[in-house]
Amino acid sequence: MPEVVLKAENIKKSFLTGEVSTEVLKGVDFTLEEGEFVAILGESGSGKSTLLYILAGIDKPTSGSVELLGQKISEISDEALAAMRRRDFSFVYQFDNLVPNLTVYENVTLPLMLDKRKESEYKDRVSEILEYLGLADRQKNFPRQLSGGEQQRAAIARALVTSPKVIFLDEPTGSLDKERGRQVMELLADINRNKGVALVMVTHSEAHAQYASRIVRME
């Protein structure tokens, strides 16, 4: 039986706009198993991104609990959660993932550097990942010198470099054209299949959702 790496129960989230409270998530349950690829599909405003942020510990639910790798996020200290981000799970936004004043190589290795790992320990692995993602010749470039697709692949490289158990992706193809989007999706499916990394991806594209092993629809 595969291990459950992420479990969310009765997640509710409401936003206060002035005096008006809008409930975006109304008691959502979610489970992710080891090596699973789940696509969360829904229209704009359905709360899919909000759910993803809550699952990744980037945002807090109004109520409900999220258990990530056997630990309740609300009970994990900030320091411990930061350490988990560097080692156990990663997050990829739709765009603007990279630190603008660092090169691709520096961006990709940033979590490792923050984890105080020696470069000699990870240099080969980083080269391998950059090669795998087709960024080997772009590693000295700054984000502004990359195309949208390259930037997104660099963000995925950064997400992969720590060998995480889970990668959260918020519309990773949202800012790419159809062909680039397809390439990224195939890459993600490949990562999931060959590297055994569980993926939780938010998308509004039916076609891209088909790459996942399970689709969760939000209305």
Partner: protein
């Protein structure tokens, strides 16, 4: 961490440069303002002691027409004496103008003070007794140079001298009004008639040996037969000189405190200018697992690097600004000491303010989730909405106490000053938002966009705070300059017909002077300095002993005039003091005060209160007879009111009494000489006003540009949305104009209260002034600064950068 910090810095080189420059300039200003007070004191002290130099005691004759023939021999072997230096000072006429001749014994011309020679050789003084050294100003005034032969006259005596050297404005020549000629006693004494010996002087300066008890030495000298009848007093540390130096440095010290606070505020606000961008970057680090400690480390390393560089450059700049301004305004020849501790304080204050303020965005980001930081949607506590009413309420309370509790006025004025500045700093952003809201509802698209930005973007609040506080400080400095110079010039008309004849004997008859052509009125006065002590104060005062003193100068009478005059004419044993003493120390009519002149003390009743804005409380009026009877001092001056041209009256008096060795000078000329050092301090205040205004404007502009850098994306979005370049420029001009207009309105209103607080604060330095305010100066400064700020978008050609860029 350092690598990431450096990358952050290098990614925005212009912003980093602007920040470093702003920190450097702020540190420099903090240092300069911490130091100016001390420098002014040093300058005034140096100028006031130009004559006495490094001596500790001076022995002089009771009347300047008397001579000392015993010279210094009795003192040569006295215990506790390092050296003695006799000096003969005379006032002679050169081309009809007074010059001050100062003679020393051979080899002793620079024993008391050294002076710098521009041309010629001062050693020639020891070769020929008819050689003299003159100042460069005198050389220019009389068209003299090394080798020039000059003819000097005193009474009916004429003597010829040769210029052997021209000195810079240094040493004795710091006090070069009237023009000082330094020579040998032997040569200068040829100007005196009927002298049987050239071994004469009228002052003997005594330098005490190291560790000697100066008070003991004073007593020893006063008991020596040779000097029993003479005036023996300390030099240099006399209370009058100290008070004079304190009074003149007080406004500079106050201005320094205001600019010190402004410097810190500027650094804090500058580092908070790009807060939004920093928080967004923090979210990027956080999402990949950076801990709070690591995030704080990156940003502290970044700000510490910038602050350290800025502080170091600032230290260099500080020395340059400080010395440059002082050399320019006070004296190029005084070596103003650079205080290492002040420099350290300025650098540390700049560094700590910068690093401390860089923590604010970090702390704010820690309040929100990563998502909230990414979206910059952390619910902000509207700190200013709380702080402004608090500061405003505290200001009102403080001002009420300041104006109602007399004993607390001086101290509370400082509290009111600080609170008012805090209220301006916190109130302006609130006023900005409050103005933008209604205007935005009725305006066109450009102004509407500006109004939305003003309400929602914190950088405008920060720019407004810097501009508002800075503009107020600039207004106050310019007003201080204008008012201090104004007080002294507005009273000149009171003295334009007055002539002083000094060096007179107490037995002289005033009617002899009235008989001279061009003289309307003459009266004998005793004009001395003395110490007045009362409950909680001991002050050096100018004592005017004359029944007619109140007719000479336009005093205001707080006590009825008739009462004051009848007391004076009946020679009642009382003194009349300025209302300033009442305001400062609660002295009132009927109180008993102790007056000390030349070591003799006597109690006097205060007979009434007078008022004179120029003299600002440093005078006592009393009957000539009372002062003579009480202190055994006779009249030494005749005050003359001229009829018609004052110059004619001076010439007639000099001619008439040529054989009497009188010193005749019109008051305005004497005043001009006396005011040289004071005017230099006023020039310093004026220069400071200009420098501080430039500083404020530069840092406001830097802050605006730094903040504006983070809004590039927004401008792109507006251009993308179809906003024309013209409309965008209009929108930015409007943003600047609103800040400028509100800063002006609030600063202008606050400057009235702050002027009053500053005037009250001067009481801490023993100075009393009535409320003065020059609206036109404040308005001119505010409008100039506000106008320049409003036009910044045009001047810096913001429009040039309006191109749609890749997001």
């Amino acid at each position: 961490m350092l690598k990431l910090a450096l990358r952050n810095i290098l990614s925005k080189p212009l912003r980093a440069a602007a920040t470093v420059i702003a920190v450097a300039v702020s540190v420099a200003m903090i240092f300069a303002m911490l130091s100016f007070g001390g420098a002014v004191y040093e300058y005034i002290y140096s100028t006031e002691t130009a004559v006495s130099g490094n001596s500790d005691i001076v022995i002089s004759t009771n009347s300047s027409s008397d001579r000392i023939t015993q010279v210094a021999e009795p003192l040569n072997n006295a215990d506790g004496v390092e050296f003695v230096c006799p000096s003969l000072t005379l006032y002679a006429l050169l081309d009809g103008e007074y010059v001050q001749m100062r003679g020393f014994d051979k080899g002793e011309s620079q024993l008391l003070r050294k002076f710098d020679i521009l041309r010629g050789d001062a050693r020639a003084l020891d070769v020929n007794s008819d050689n003299i050294v003159i100042s460069s100003a005198a050389a220019e005034r009389f068209g003299l140079d090394v080798g020039s032969r000059i003819e000097l006259k005193l009474d009916r005596q004429t003597a010829y001298f040769y210029v052997c050297a021209v000195a810079d404005k240094s040493g004795y020549f710091l006090s070069d009004a009237p023009f000082l000629f330094v020579g040998r006693i032997e040569g200068i004494s040829h100007l005196l008639a009927n002298v049987t010996t050239r071994r004469i002087c009228n002052e003997i300066y005594v330098k005490a040996a190291e560790g000697a008890d100066i008070d003991g030495l004073l007593k020893t000298i006063s008991e020596m037969d040779a000097y029993k009848t003479m005036l023996i007093r300390r030099t240099g540390d006399g209370g009058y000189i100290k008070e004079q130096a304190n009074s003149l440095s007080a406004p500079v010290v106050l201005a320094g405190a205001a600019v010190f606070m402004l410097g810190i505020a500027v650094i804090v606000l500058l580092f908070m200018m790009s807060e939004k961008e920093k928080i967004s970057l923090i979210s990027k680090y956080a999402v990949i697992g950076a801990t709070r400690k690591q995030i704080a480390g990156i940003f502290i390393a970044e700000s510490a690097s910038l602050a350290l560089l800025g502080s170091l450059i600032g230290c260099g700049l500080a020395v340059g600004i400080f010395v440059g301004i002082l050399k320019l305004t006070l004296s190029p020849n005084i070596a103003f000491g650079i205080s290492a501790w002040r420099l350290t304080v300025a650098a540390v204050v700049g560094f700590v303010s910068a690093v401390g303020s860089s923590l604010l965005p970090i702390l704010r980001s820690f309040r929100g989730t990563i998502r909230q930081n990414q979206l910059n949607s952390v619910r902000r506590v509207r700190t200013l909405n709380i702080l402004f009413p608090v500061f405003l309420a505290l200001t009102v309370i403080s001002v009420i106490v300041e104006f109602t509790v007399a004993k607390a006025t001086a101290v509370m004025s400082v509290v009111s000053l600080a609170l008012t500045f805090a209220a301006i700093g916190t109130g302006l952003p609130c006023a900005l938002r409050a103005t933008a809201k209604p205007v935005g509802k009725v305006a066109g698209p450009a102004v509407k966009t500006a109004c939305v930005n003003i309400r929602r973007d914190g950088r405008f609040a920060k720019s407004a705070a810097i501009m508002g506080v800075g503009m107020t400080v600039a207004m106050l400095l310019f007003m201080a300059w204008s008012m201090t110079t104004g007080i002294f010039t507005e009273y000149l008309s009171d003295f334009e017909n007055m002539v002083f004849v000094t060096n007179v004997q107490s037995t002289v008859d005033a009617s002899d002077f009235e008989a001279v052509d061009g003289v309307k009125f003459a009266t004998k006065i005793v004009w001395r300095q003395g110490e007045l002590a009362g409950d909680g104060f001991n002050k050096t005062m100018n004592i005017l002993g004359s029944k007619n003193a109140l007719n000479l100068v336009d005093f205001e009478f707080i006590t009825p005039k008739e009462e004051v005059l009848s007391s004076l004419f009946e020679d009642k044993e009382c003194i009349f003091v300025d209302i300033a003493l009442k305001e400062l120390y609660g002295v009132d009519k009927g109180d008993t005060l102790v007056l000390t002149i030349d070591g003799r003390s006597r109690e006097f009743t205060v007979g009434g209160l007078l008022k004179h804005r120029l003299f600002s409380g440093n005078y006592i009026v009393m009957s000539e007879k009372v002062i003579s009877d009480s202190f055994a001092v006779g009249a030494d001056t005749v005050a003359v009111i001229a009829q018609g041209d004052v110059g004619n009256a001076v010439s007639e008096l000099r001619e008439k009494f040529a054989d009497k060795n009188y010193y005749v000078v019109d008051v305005l000329t004497a005043y001009k000489w006396d005011m040289q050092s004071t005017n230099a301090v006023f020039d310093l205040i004026g220069t400071l006003a200009v420098v501080v205004t430039i500083f404020i404007f530069a840092v406001t502009a830097a802050a605006t540009l730094i903040g504006r850098g983070s809004a590039k994306q927004q401008r792109n979005a507006l251009l993308n949305a179809g906003m024309s370049k013209r409309a965008l420029l209009r929108s930015e001009i409007f943003e600047h104009s609103v800040i400028a207009a509100l800063s002006f309105a609030i600063s202008f209103a606050a400057s009235v209260l702050l002027t009053s607080c500053l005037i009250h604060a001067l009481r801490l330095f023993g100075l009393y002034f009535e409320f003065m305010y020059e609206a036109w100066v404040a308005a001119a400064v505010g409008l100039a600064m506000g106008g320049a700020y409003a036009l910044m978008p045009v001047a810096l050609n913001y429009k040039k950068a309006y191109t749609i860029k890749k997001a």
